[in-house]
Amino acid sequence: MEKSEITERAIKVTCEVLNVTSDMVTPESDFVFDLGAESTQSVQLVAAFDEEFDINMDAEDALEVQTVGDAIEFIEKYVNK
């Protein structure tokens, strides 16, 4: 899968779960500090990425990811394994 498609779909999922608009989301956006994710939403976000990309990320490692850009790279590793 192309990175651009992963980026587009990851941002869509982020907006849905965190209830933010796409213009607020950049690769540098920090899930917690910029987008306001609380702990349960972080868990929901990882679950939503798993579902969207039909992957099964390592939960502990996935929850360590802080920014949207890092999340896209993390997802890419699983998608293009």
Binding site: T40, Q44, V46, A47, M57, A59, E60
Partner: protein, 465 residues
């Protein structure tokens, strides 16, 4: 500012130091000593070796059916027999719970005693409890008991204000009953009531000396035992405390100055100042072999040393389970609850929530390694795995633990918090959107698990039908 005496450089390690010599997870945390204790008695330093408890025959005695029963409506005979049977199982082959005492006054008292003895357990041995009245001796003889407790109050509060006699008359009266016991071939156990408020030099020591003189005339199995009764919970464990409240000094005086050996000394405490358990342990350490207890500390007013706590203290001091079946503690608690004894939810070892956490951050620790927030292997020793209660503070970690426990999942099978995200969301919405202010009960969560996690419900629970 004081001058720094010793530097303490950071010691970086490759492997964590969990101090397992003291914190073996399959045992209660061990109580280890690395030095003697020095107590000044009559101005002279006296050394005590607390580590001696490892080899001494310290043990537990029980008064659930006597002092314990004074604090509640009477047990039925069947209930007492059941409790006794479970106590015997807990006691184990080393007879750690050595004795339990019974009233002898009613037909029910005597039938209970007969049925307990008929079970043939080697421990706890059944003993009696009577007033210091000669007439009460017939009860002990009729019951064919080898030992009985005798109320021998020793403070002036009791002698002058309650019995309305003087010290000489009190001593004579007590000694008459002791004589009668010895003549009948029954070992007297003198309960020195209110000893922590008594004149030690003026009454207690002279009385005990006389009891020891009387004991010289009889065989070993009849020699008088001494129970130190801290009737009002005034006993103090702190080094340097003065008599009559100092437990170390009381035991030293009786043990060394009056010559009562440790195996004939017993501590009986009350919890009026929240000191009851530690005071019992202190008595063990300073030379008194027996600590008298009741199940769940239930006894007169604020209660007595809890038997189950003494069991864990015993194991912690000995460094070994010593054949004790600690799981009987949970069965006893369940049984006591079933017959109406209230046990607070936060009560150590047996309360419904004694190893339950509500905080999400603690739940997170539990999920990673239960040792972080569980006192010992409660699953193994008590049949009680650590639990979480779901509230607004539980977080996804707490919900994940609850779900795994509910499904009975262990090891690799455990679900991580990503898998339970829908349930975690529902929990948070209860508080954030619905304004809930109560904890979420197990039944409510079960319903939600079935609704929000149907794939796992199907896999682990199957159909509800």
């Amino acid at each position: 500012m004081s001058e720094k005496k010793k530097l303490h450089p950071l010691v970086e390690v490759d492997e964590p130091n969990f101090i397992t010599e003291a914190f073996d997870y399959d045992l209660p945390p061990l109580i280890r000593f690395d030095s003697p204790v020095v107590e000044y008695i009559d101005g002279e330093p006296v050394r005590f070796d607390p580590s001696g408890v490892k080899t001494r025959d310290i043990h537990i005695t029980d008064t659930t059916f006597r002092d314990g029963q004074q604090a509640r409506p009477p047990y039925t005979i069947d209930q007492m027999v059941r409790i006794y049977d479970l106590m015997a199982r807990m006691s184990g082959p080393n007879r750690v719970i050595r004795q339990t005492e019974f009233f002898l006054y009613t037909r029910n008292d005597r039938e209970t005693l007969d049925r307990c003895r008929a079970m043939g357990h080697s421990s706890p041995e059944c003993t009696g409890w009577i007033r210091a009245i000669k007439g009460d001796f017939r009860l002990v003889k009729d019951a064919q008991l080898k030992e009985t407790g005798i109320l021998t109050s020793c403070s002036d509060y009791h002698i002058f204000s309650k019995l309305k006699i003087d010290r000489k008359m009190a001593m004579e009266r007590y000694c008459d009953v002791v004589d009668a016991a010895l003549a009948a071939g029954i070992r007297p156990r003198c309960h020195l009531e209110d000893i922590t408020r008594a004149d030690i030099d003026g009454f207690v020591l002279p009385f005990v000396e006389r009891l020891m003189e009387m004991s010289e005339q009889v065989p070993d199995e009849l020699k008088v035992k001494i129970r130190l009764c801290d009737t009002m919970g005034f006993g103090i464990s702190y080094p340097g405390a003065e008599l009559p409240r100092s437990i170390p000094k009381l035991i030293y005086k009786l043990n060394v100055e009056c010559g009562v050996p440790g195996d004939r000394l017993e501590w009986h405490g009350h919890n009026d100042f929240h000191k009851v358990h530690t005071n019992g342990g202190t008595a063990w350490l300073y030379g008194c072999d027996a600590v008298n207890t009741t199940l769940f500390g239930f006894g007169e007013r604020t209660g007595n040393p809890p038997l189950e706590a003494a069991i864990f203290e015993y194991i912690a001091l000995k460094g070994d389970l010593c054949g004790i079946d600690t799981t009987a503690i949970t069965e006893l608690a369940d049984y006591m609850r079933s017959i109406g004894l209230p046990i607070p939810a936060n009560y150590p070892f047996v309360g419904k929530h004694f190893n339950t956490t509500r905080a999400g951050i603690h739940a997170g620790g539990l999920r990673q390694d239960e040792r972080i927030y569980n006192i010992f292997n409660t699953t193994k020793l008590l049949g009680r795995p650590p639990r979480v209660i779901i509230t607004n503070n539980s977080g996804a970690d707490g919900v994940a633990i609850w779900v795994n426990e509910f499904f009975g999942l262990t090891g690799e099978d455990r679900l991580n918090k990503i898998k339970i995200h829908r349930l975690a969301r529902w929990v948070m919405d209860q508080y954030e959107r619905e304004g809930r202010i109560t904890a979420i009960g197990d039944e409510e969560l079960e319903t939600k698990v079935e609704e929000l996690m149907p794939e796992y419900w199907e896999k682990y629970k199957g159909s509800r039908e």
